[in-house]
């Protein structure tokens, strides 16, 4: 394993710990946040706030650098369009998120904890991603 691969593993591991510690990996906690009109749990605002507080300076630095510490170029997304795909895709994602309380990262982390419901969600999510690939191929 080279350094960059090991580094990505460490990043994934820290990300996983963050999701576990914050409560994001617990769908019932996430649904408590999404239940704005019930007994609302604002905790996840702080998860976002904490993550962005570290992310802001890091991405500002990344924008100034051309190469990553371990080599290779820094790849920042270049798309700017606010199109139908972005909005309808995000809406579908939000509906799925509100149904189960899982977004992609927590679905994978809870699968790592061998939670049966998370494994069911993760398999369906991967099937959805494969479905997207099929639709894209057909369209091109």
């Amino acid at each position: 394993m080279n350094k960059a691969t090991f580094s990505a593993f460490i990043a994934g591991l820290i990300f996983s710990f963050g999701l576990l510690l914050s409560g994001m990996a617990n769908p019932e906690k996430v649904l408590g946040f999404l239940d704005l009109f019930g007994a609302w749990d604002p905790s996840l605002m702080l998860v976002m706030g904490g993550a962005i507080a570290v992310g802001l300076p890091a991405f500002a630095l990344a924008r100034k650098r051309e190469t990553a510490v371990l080599g290779g170029t820094i790849q920042l997304p270049g798309k700017r369009a606010l199109d139908k795909r972005l909005i309808l895709g995000s809406l579908a994602f939000g509906i799925g998120w509100g149904l189960a309380g899982f977004c992609p990262g927590p679905g994978i982390v809870a699968s790592g904890a061998l939670e049966p419901g998370a494994l069911v969600f993760a398999v369906a999510m991967i099937a959805g991603m494969l479905g997207f690939r099929l639709l894209e191929r057909r369209a091109s």
Partner: protein, 144 residues
């Protein structure tokens, strides 16, 4: 608005958020890549040669987290109340939706907002709206 103070966990939420930010900062500065989970999973499914190793390693890190955590400490609660059919419908929507939107809570919500991207702000506001509206319908209109 009615805040559930008993469920509110500001300390662990903030600390966990800082760790998520740290992991995203690490990946962009060390590897030069954005920590967007749906993009990473989609990339793995596309089998992109130059990205396979780091994407696989990051995903394995996510999966290994709970196991390594549990060596030192009891795992935090993971409570899943949704039935299997609902989890399947949710998974399909999350899978297709995040790929069309080219990002999810991590790619748009954390990394995109950290880059001050208007596109990511629009995505984040839309999926938050979708989540709030869905829980409102399910819990308060359907009473499930």
């Amino acid at each position: 608005m009615n805040i559930d103070w008993n469920a509110f966990t500001p300390g662990s939420a903030l600390a966990g958020g800082l760790l998520i930010g740290l992991a995203s900062a690490w990946l962009i500065l060390m590897n030069g890549r954005v920590a967007g989970i749906s993009g990473i999973l989609g990339g793995l499914l596309n089998n992109e040669r130059g990205n396979r190793a780091w994407q696989l390693a990051f995903t394995l890190g996510l999966l290994a987290g709970p196991g390594i955590w549990s060596l030192f400490h009891a795992l935090p609660t993971i409570e899943i109340r949704a039935s299997y059919p609902v989890l399947i419908a949710a998974g399909l929507l999350v899978g297709i939706g995040t790929r069309y939107a080219a990002g999810c809570t991590s790619g748009h919500g954390v990394c995109g907002l950290s880059r001050l991207s208007p596109r990511s702000l629009a995505a984040t506001m839309t999926f938050m709206f979708g989540g709030f509206a869905t829980v409102y319908v399910v819990r308060h209109l359907l009473g499930a």
